[in-house]
Amino acid sequence: MAIIKSVVNRLRHPVGAAGLALAVTAMAYTGYANIAGNAQAPSAFSGLTLTDDKGRDFDFASLSGRPVAVFFGFTHCPDVCPMTLHRLGFLRQKIGPEFDRIKIVFVSLDPKRDTPEVLKNYMEGQPVRVTGLTGTEADIAKMAKRFDVFHEVIRVPGQDYTVDHTASIFLVDKKGRRSGEITMDADESEYEKKLRQLLQGSTNLHPKNQI
């Protein structure tokens, strides 16, 4: 239910929890499309500072004009993060060359271990082309907060630590507007539907775009 809770936190208007649950279940952000259609809204990435996997300051402005899929993780995540990457790989096969118009961005939640070099090595073996970002803990926390991403370092006996984290993919349209989210438990048809909507320039905008 934390998904719903986090969505509640994002909303500016009080909405009944039951109605909200239905809205989330139906993947319907459509009710917000009209009021969110303000071209003056700042980009979902404005004011963020991170380093890319080549060790350079990442130019978030370069994302403008392209549909973007952002997700958070860490390279020492052996189970969930590869699963997300492989699913994107399957969808790339299914959607075809058009898929590559989507800029895929992976934000590390483990800057201590994920140096630009580690990220670069990790991204090279993936089934889709991904830009890895890392940075200071404060800058990463700011990026995570922007997308309402939960993250917490957990000590593991016999292994340094792992990071619990929100495992959703966040979709941002070519105008920098939040336009959907794919949770880790989504099935392939939902992945495909939402990625195709992103490619087509979805009007199902996230309520945060009202800011």
Binding site: M1, A2, I3, I4, K5, S6, T75, H76, C77, P78, D79, V80, P82, M83, H86, R87, G89, F90, E117, V118, N121, Y122, E124, G125, P127, F150, I154, V156, P157, G158, Q159, T162, D164, H165, T166, A167, S168, T183, M184, D185, A186, D187, E188
Partner: protein
């Protein structure tokens, strides 16, 4: 017997064509199939392994540990998704009911190889020995490959397309 089990294995993976692992087993009644692991990046020190254990005995069995020359420390872990947040926790053992099976798959239960000594590359295999409470041990080879479409544990990607 092996062919029959292979056929069952194929059914279990939802019709996806795969070559069953040739299992060298010290115990004829505990069978491990579809053993694999993701490739690792250069410098990556952890990897996850997956397999299915079939307990064809009439006694409940417990998978209590694993060892491998390819990693310093092997543990069992489980991933869960609660409210969109993925959490991974250590698990001491897995119970396998008599006549039942244990499935380790992405997004759920998995073998954690910690302190991986060499990069896992697609096409290679990694030897692992599984240790059971009854004293049985089963040697398996994890095939290094990228995930099959059907391999996640959450049911969302069990392809019948």
């Amino acid at each position: 017997m092996f062919l029959k089990n292979a056929a069952i294995g194929l059914l279990l993976v939802g019709g996806v064509v795969s070559v069953p692992q040739i299992v060298r087993s010290d115990s004829a009644s505990l069978q491990v199939k579809d053993a694999w692991a993701n490739p690792t990046a250069s410098g990556q020190s952890v990897a996850a392994g997956y397999f299915v254990v079939h307990n064809r005995t009439n006694r409940a069995e417990v998978l209590r540990g694993a060892s491998s020359p390819a990693a310093q420390n092997l543990q069992f872990h489980t991933s869960s998704l609660v409210g969109g947040v993925a959490r991974m926790r250590k698990v001491e053992r897995f119970n396998i009911p008599a006549g039942g099976q244990l499935k380790l798959a992405p997004g759920g239960n998995h073998l954690m190889l910690i302190g991986v000594k060499q990069q896992f590359k697609v096409g290679e295999t990694v030897p692992v020995t599984l240790h059971f409470n009854s004293g049985a041990s089963v040697k398996v080879k994890l095939e290094i490959k990228n995930a099959d479409k059907s391999s996640s544990s959450n049911g969302g990607h069990h392809g019948h397309h």
